[in-house]
C-alpha cells in the first residue's frame, strides 16, 4: 500500500508516544518486577519470582485487603450520594441542570491539595466541626474525625465524587422520561419503576463511575498521608514507600504489576457488561 508523506508524518507522533511513554515504561516495570534488589536500592540483574512470592506475606496481603475495603466503601458512599443527586438534578429545568453540573465541576478545577487542607481545618480535634459540635453540646469531648480510616474515607469520597456524579448523571438524563411516565400510568409504584426501569438503564453509568472511583482510590497516597496521619498504609503508600524510602524498586514494581492486572480484569468486566471504553475518559 502506498503511504504518502503526509500519512507518515501524522502517524509517527502517536507511535512514538505509545512506545516511549506507555509501552516502554510499563514493560520496564514488568521486567523490574522479576529482578532482585540489594539493601541500598541497587538493582541486581538476576531473575527471581521472590517479589511476587513476597506479596503473599500476611503483612502485604492485609494491605491489599485493606485497600480494597477502603476503596470499596468510598465507592459505595459515592454511589449513595451521587445517584439520588443525579436523579433529582435531572428532574430540573435544563438550565438549572446545567448550573448544577457546573457547580459540581467547579471545585475540582481548583487545587485538590488545598481542598484537602480545608478538610484538615474542618476535621481536626480543635477544628471547626468539633468546636461546633461541642458548642451545641452534641458531644462533650472532641470526636476523632481524622488520622484514622474515617478521615481517609471522607477525603476519598470528597475528591472522587464528581467522577461518580458525571457518568451517573449522564446515564440518568438519557433515560426516556416518557417511559417513566408510562410506568406510572400503568400503576407501577415508585420502587418498581426504579428497579425495573431506572436501575437497568443506568447500570452502565454506575459501573463506569464505580471504576473511576475505585481504581484511583487505591492509589491516592497523598490523601492517606494527609488525613490518615501516616500510620495507615494502602497500596498507593506501599508502592510509594518501596520506591522512595525502602529502596526496593523490584518489589514495588511487582505490586504495581498486580495492580495493573486487577485493573485490567475490572475493565474487562466493564466491557463485557457493555461498557464503552471512551466513556471512561470521564467528563
Amino acid at each position: 500500500m502506498y503511504k504518502s508523506l503526509f500519512q507518515k508524518i501524522i502517524t509517527i507522533p502517536i507511535i512514538i508516544y505509545a512506545l516511549v511513554l506507555i509501552a516502554m515504561p510499563i514493560l520496564y516495570v514488568l521486567a523490574l518486577s522479576f529482578l532482585k534488589s540489594d539493601a541500598y536500592g541497587g538493582i541486581i540483574n538476576e531473575i527471581t519470582l521472590q517479589n511476587y512470592i513476597d506479596i503473599f506475606d500476611v503483612v502485604y496481603l492485609s494491605v491489599f485487603l485493606k485497600s480494597f475495603i477502603i476503596a470499596g466503601i468510598a465507592t459505595f458512599l459515592c454511589i449513595i450520594i451521587a445517584y439520588p443527586f443525579a436523579i433529582f438534578v435531572s428532574q430540573k429545568k435544563p438550565h438549572i441542570q446545567k448550573i448544577m453540573m457546573v457547580l459540581v465541576i467547579a471545585p475540582f478545577l481548583t487545587n485538590s491539595l488545598i481542598r484537602m487542607y480545608g478538610w484538615i481545618i474542618l476535621l481536626r480535634k480543635e477544628g471547626i466541626i468539633n468546636t461546633f459540635l461541642q458548642n451545641i453540646h452534641l458531644t462533650d469531648h472532641p470526636l476523632q474525625l481524622m488520622y484514622n480510616d474515617l478521615g481517609i474515607i471522607i477525603g476519598l469520597v470528597y475528591t472522587l465524587l464528581p467522577f461518580m456524579i458525571l457518568p451517573v448523571y449522564s446515564a440518568v438524563s438519557k433515560v426516556d422520561k416518557s417511559i417513566l411516565e408510562a410506568a406510572k400510568d400503568l400503576g407501577a409504584n415508585k420502587i418498581k419503576t426504579f428497579t425495573n426501569i431506572m436501575l437497568p438503564q443506568t447500570a452502565s453509568g454506575l459501573f463506569n463511575g464505580s471504576l473511576m472511583v475505585f481504581i484511583p482510590a487505591i492509589g491516592y497516597f497523598f490523601i492517606v498521608d494527609i488525613l490518615g496521619g501516616g500510620k495507615l498504609m494502602l497500596l498507593g503508600n506501599l508502592i510509594k514507600n518501596q520506591f522512595l524510602t525502602a529502596r526496593n524498586w523490584p518489589f514495588g514494581a511487582a505490586i504495581s504489576i498486580v495492580l495493573i492486572i486487577i485493573t485490567f480484569l475490572l475493565v474487562k468486566l466493564y466491557k463485557k457488561k457493555g461498557g464503552n471504553m471512551d466513556e471512561l475518559g470521564g467528563f
Partner: protein, 259 residues
C-alpha cells in the same frame, strides 16, 4: 419536591464546605486557622512575597501550558490519523491509549520514574512536561475522536475533489469542523495537568516544584494563610471563566427552548 432540593443542597454543601472555610480564613488575622479573630487583607500581600509559592505557580503554568499545547496538537493529528489510516500496530496503539486512563496514576508515575532513571534522564521540568503529556494525550484523542466520528465523511471528499491537498484539507476543513472536540480535549488536559499530584510527585526534580507539590509539602510542614489567599484567587478565576461560559450556554439553551 422540597426534600429533593434539600438533598441537592446538602451534596453541594459537602462539595463547597472546605472551600468556604479556606475563603473565610484567607481574611483571618490569626495565622492559626482555628478561630476567626478579625478581618484582614494582609495574606494577599504576603502571597506576593512568598517566593517558593510563586515559583511553584510559575512552574505549574509552564508545565500545564506546554504539555496541554503539545498534547492537543499531537492528540488532534493522531485522532485523525487513527481514524483515517490503517497501519501496523494501530490496534495495539488503540489499546495502549487506554492505559493512562484506567491504571492507577501511581503506577504510571513509578513506571515513568523507572524509565527516566534507567535511561539516565535528569528529572526536572522536561520530565514533568513529558509525563504530563503521557497522561493527558489519551484524553485529547478520545475527545477529538468523539467529534470526528460524527463528522460527515463527504466534507473531506468534497474538499479533495476541489483539489485541496492533504494538509490544506486537514487544516482548512477538518480542524474547524472538529474544533469543539479539540477545545474540550485541551480544557481537560489543562485541568488534569494543573492539579496533578501523583505523577508529578515521582517525576519532578530539583527546581521544578509545581504548585500541588509545593502545597503538599506546606501541608506537611505548616501552612501559612497566604495559601488560603491563593486558593481564593484560583477559585475566583475558575468561577469567572465557568460563570461566563455557563451564562453563554444557558442563553443558548433558553433560545432553543423558545424556538
Amino acid at each position: 419536591m422540597k426534600w429533593k432540593n434539600f438533598y441537592i443542597g446538602l451534596v453541594l454543601l459537602f462539595l463547597y464546605l472546605p472551600i468556604l472555610v479556606l475563603i473565610i480564613f484567607s481574611f483571618n488575622t490569626s495565622s492559626l486557622n482555628i478561630l476567626f479573630e478579625g478581618f484582614t487583607f494582609k495574606w494577599y500581600g504576603e502571597l506576593l512575597n512568598n517566593v517558593s509559592l510563586l515559583e511553584a505557580l510559575k512552574n505549574t503554568l509552564i508545565v500545564s501550558i506546554t504539555s496541554t499545547l503539545i498534547s492537543t496538537i499531537i492528540g488532534t493529528i493522531s485522532a485523525f490519523a487513527l481514524k483515517k489510516y490503517d497501519f501496523k500496530g494501530k490496534k495495539i496503539i488503540n489499546q495502549l491509549l487506554y492505559i493512562p486512563i484506567v491504571i492507577p496514576e501511581i503506577v504510571l508515575g513509578i513506571a515513568l520514574l523507572s524509565i527516566y532513571t534507567f535511561l539516565h534522564v535528569e528529572l526536572g521540568l522536561g520530565t514533568l512536561i513529558l509525563s504530563h503529556i503521557a497522561f493527558s494525550l489519551p484524553f485529547v484523542i478520545i475527545s477529538v475522536r468523539a467529534v470526528l466520528d460524527n463528522m460527515p465523511s463527504n466534507i473531506e471528499d468534497a474538499a479533495k475533489d476541489l483539489g485541496a491537498s492533504n494538509i490544506k484539507t486537514f487544516w482548512n476543513v477538518i480542524v474547524p469542523t472538529i474544533m469543539p472536540g479539540i477545545t474540550s480535549g485541551a480544557f481537560l488536559a489543562f485541568t488534569l495537568s494543573l492539579d496533578d499530584v501523583v505523577i508529578s510527585y515521582f517525576t519532578a526534580g530539583p527546581g521544578s516544584n509545581t504548585l500541588p507539590l509545593q502545597i503538599y509539602s506546606m501541608i506537611k510542614t505548616g501552612v501559612t494563610p497566604d495559601v488560603n489567599a491563593l486558593a481564593t484567587l484560583i477559585l475566583l478565576a475558575v468561577f469567572l471563566v465557568l460563570g461566563i461560559s455557563t451564562i453563554l450556554q444557558i442563553r443558548n439553551i433558553k433560545r432553543q427552548v423558545k424556538v
